[in-house]
Symmetry: D2
Subunit: 348 residues, 4 copies
């Protein structure tokens, strides 16, 4: 059965595997201090035009999130996030397990606004409450939406005014930066946030996220913290090799893969729209949330794999389709055909 | 320069990579619920002759250790370990970071004895002290030594009598079970301990440890805990594929790789002994700790990579050589030749 | 200036101090194992008609809350609370600092309902989310409201059906159990919850809360946990003496003190109602939340101490008056007179 | 039976109680922001001749220790202590429960030396190990010994050279500063350490320790941390009143009480020495550790209460006698008489 469940169903892009195989018998230093990690860091620094950042490769997203938050906050400080934020909903309390509260603001589209941050600040006055010290945003968000340059600048402003650190979760950063409506560059991000990560797992790597620490004050001793949380792979070069391939400057495969995922999603979105279905969240990147009759969903489930998202009224639900670098034209065509063939019947 | 620094300098055994490449474009379920993890678990269960265990694949050793200890202890409980234990020395306080004290006993050879455990118990009486609840041992130990069947049975006995959980860190289990003096089988281990892990990273995998929970009481909700600590890879099948290859029953590659590592170490040990050097710890498995004149070590460093272990008197030190599945006969020959050529000069 | 800020502005009820002074030079055992703690426990057990509970005396409320929650939950488990709950708002993240998420439900009156609990459960399915395992309620709530017997039974039912522990924070239990509309007895509570505490600090003691563990499964090793969190006073008898006095069976001073506080609040509420002001939360116990014109509040502040609670529209705010065992008729009279004299002017 | 078990068997010195009773019906601000806490802080600042320190009153010693260590260390940092240190042995892993390792050095007399600190530093090199960042010492130590001015200066020097924070646990500071061999003043301590506390519980208070933060960098937001750990009493003035009495400048009752305790101990020590018994630790302050025949100890137990300390050879043990501000001449006389009467018989 064809799966549109997520963007991590397949392994790595073949070019990533190629270098993994080619370098397999090299004797490399352990713990991410090898030549491939070095090369990958060099490529990323060049690409974001910042020599002064620290880059660390971490196996997964939850681990990166818990590391960043627990390393940079003192015990009484909290992080502000949208209620839909991955750290709030889908990490089994990983942040709280390191001792920190996630203060959430209701968000209709997965995005935080300066107003929400301001409101969270106003709700926390004095020593009987946690102290807001960090803002967590994701781009793309968990609902597939993205931040504009203006929005990110406005958020940075409110953070600076209130001495809040700004952390951007880029598990799906490639999709955000390559989707049609985006006007934000990775250089903008490196300029505006204190720390962010460039997601590999969801864009062509076997595993791995590249954490970029832009704020000088946050750099000290970070490798101690990586080790302590069990996030320092003995064979760190396994991740290095992958980011070396993805950010090789001539090709910038990282963006090529995401563009493909976004294009596949666009075709799907056009077909679903043509069938006159609505969406639960704006159609922007490689995640689509069509609202469909439950009966139609039941039929879809016999032919495709995908996730259920939310109940919408009595007989409808939102589901989630995700495309990836590995999604083929043929797979999309099959799903489009299915919509064309059956949508009318089930909408009637 | 040839490296004897550790057993994780190279990537994965070529057969492991082969299946990784072959299965790369499959659409697999995420988070370790795929067919490769299933197959790998099936192979391991068959091999240890226990259908009733729970198996989980975890990216690394420190992560596995902190997960096991923090999941099975209540907040006031501690784990007893040898002072040389990896959790005590080399995990940047990962265990304490989850809230638990590591109570250590001085051990000359990296092994715990029932007497040491008994002494630790006697030193902890009542509610003003932490409560011992788990014993941590590693096989091979951090000094390359191993437990005999009798020793493990004796430890299990003292654990049972005192309601202590027994946890065996098998980061180098393959080397332990295939070294000459070993009389312990993996079935014995599965019978005698509450939980153990089968190390992949140090024996031919890119990354990954197979955690085996033998004690029924410890199984509940363990996947929640894996997720919370950031130890659940989105592409869990990456580890599944590797253990599927290593435990494929016809070949049992897992042991073949370790046998090779041990044989390479044996050749080295013979050569070093022939040069009339002593060892800091008994020569048993794939880690060797020769005690050498500092001047000789200085010379070695110009030609080989290895780790310094400890100062031994004024002009001597113990260093560490580690061999692996990837160590070649040629590499060993070069080191042996070096000893033959220069040892006498430097011993004079 | 007369203070209606809280119910912990004064020291202890004189009878409490009397026994403290009388027993001062006794040589008592340390850490709460003395004859006064024993006597106090005996009195409480008799009073709640339960010999089979464990009772521990803890210095303060936040400490009791963090102890209970961190001792009885496994790392991946969370506690469900009203968004107004003390553990969510006013404990500087004390619960999260022990590793646990507080999952909150919006509550208009500070109370949780079975429906809210059910909804929280439905929002948490599977291992990528925290696992609800405990329900936290307070009686009186942070808005001065109370639970009826039926309501508590209904909550207990949903807890039992879903294997949730039920924890009642009784920082102001005395006020709850003695207010006019109450139909709940302390015996009911001991029957319906797994663990609760009887607040001393806010009802006549210098410090101290009596934690009652009703559920047999939760009793083991609890003194280890008290010690670990720094909650075991060397001179535990200081708290024992106080509860011995408060629960001395002939007098049951504990309830007498609360009755007085409630009566004082009632007089105040009547006067405020007579002035045709509304309340932010129902008038039930010793906390009153009148909604007053900001100009009137400004005038009040020149003569009385109290806390601001919330903005209500453009020119009004809710404030909080709290009465206690130590509130005098004279103090209440002065506040009532103030309302009579100035309310009309400021309402016009 | 007369107790020499500890220095917290009785309540508070009568003068402390007097002020508690006298101020009982005042309406004070909560959470330690009252006039008594202010006055007590003023007295202490005057006394240590430092206006620039921050002082906080904390209910107990374990709580103070865990607060200090968890507030000032980052997650990967550890504290160095003597193996006999209270934080290592007698706090049920309270420090580890906040996430930090206690690195211990074997100490014969309960004291740390610069050499021990240096050795601990040498054993911790790099990111795979915890990072030493704080030194914990107690004065008097857990064996009743004290630091000389020179010793404390030497320790401070090694701390400064290695950017280690120096924390002095003064649970028994009064006894240390008033014993015969002491040459250290509280002003010296305030000059040499980053943070220390002045113990109240063991020297005449019902409860409470005065934490003094001398290092400017450590002051920020400390009240948030006190609240989070449940260490902020609602009726903070209860502790304020006590330190106000103890440090009232005309009398300096704090030292008077300790002098008495030390004198009582001295009389005891002289009598025990006259009986030709040895001591397990040097006789310095209000804790005595005589080594006695087990048969004699058995006899003593029928008449006096005290703690067992350690086995010393086959038929002897060290026990602990503690005197306090409340120990009477009569009590000491009875114990002295007992030694005179029976020591010879049991030594034969």
């Amino acid at each position: 059965m064809i799966s549109f469940t997520n963007d991590y169903s397949e392994g790595a892009h073949p070019k990533v595997l190629e270098l993994l195989v080619a370098s397999n018998l090299e004797q490399n230093k352990g713990y991410g201090e090898d030549i491939h990690c070095d090369k990958a860091k060099e490529y990323i620094k060049q690409h974001i035009k910042r020599e002064d950042v620290d880059i660390h490769f971490i196996p997964g997203g939850t681990q990166t999130n818990l590391l960043v938050i627990s390393s940079f906050l003192r015990p009484h400080q909290c992080v502000i996030a949208a209620d839909t934020g991955h750290i709030n909903v889908h990490e089994t309390g990983a942040i709280e397990a390191t001792g920190h509260k996630v203060v959430t603001m209701v968000s209709p589209d997965g995005k935080l606004t300066p107003q929400m941050i301001q409101k969270a600040l106003e709700g926390h006055d004095g020593e009987h409450m946690v102290q807001p010290k960090m803002v967590y945003i994701s781009d793309t968000t968990e609902l597939g939406t993205i931040y504009t340059k203006q929005e990110l600048e406005d958020i940075q402003k409110v953070c600076q005014e209130n001495k809040l650190l700004l952390f951007l979760d880029g598990a799906r950063l490639a999709s955000a930066l390559t989707c049609k409506s985006n006007d934000l560059s990775i250089e903008d991000i490196a300029r505006l946030v204190d720390v962010f990560y460039i997601g590999g797992t969801k864009n062509g790597a076997l595993l791995g996220e590249a954490l970029v620490i832009c704020n000088e004050d946050l750099k000290e001793d970070f490798r101690f913290l990586i080790k302590q949380r069990g996030a320092m792979l003995a064979k760190g070069f396994v991740i290095g090799v992958q980011f070396e391939t993805l950010f090789q400057p001539e090709e910038l495969l990282y963006y090529e893969l995401a563009k493909h995922a976004n294009q596949m999603a666009e075709q799907l979105a056009d077909a679903i729209t043509a069938c006159e279905f609505d969406f639960y969240a704006p159609v922007v990147s490689n995640q689509l949330f069509p609202v469909l009759p439950n009966s139609f969903i039941a039929e879809l489930e016999k032919n495709f794999l995908f996730n259920w998202q939310a109940k919408v009224g009595e007989d409808k639900s939102a589901i989630r389709f995700v495309t990836s670098w590995a999604t083929t034209q043929e797979q999309v065509d099959k799903l489009v055909e299915f919509f064309k063939a059956y949508a009318k019947t089930y909408r009637a």
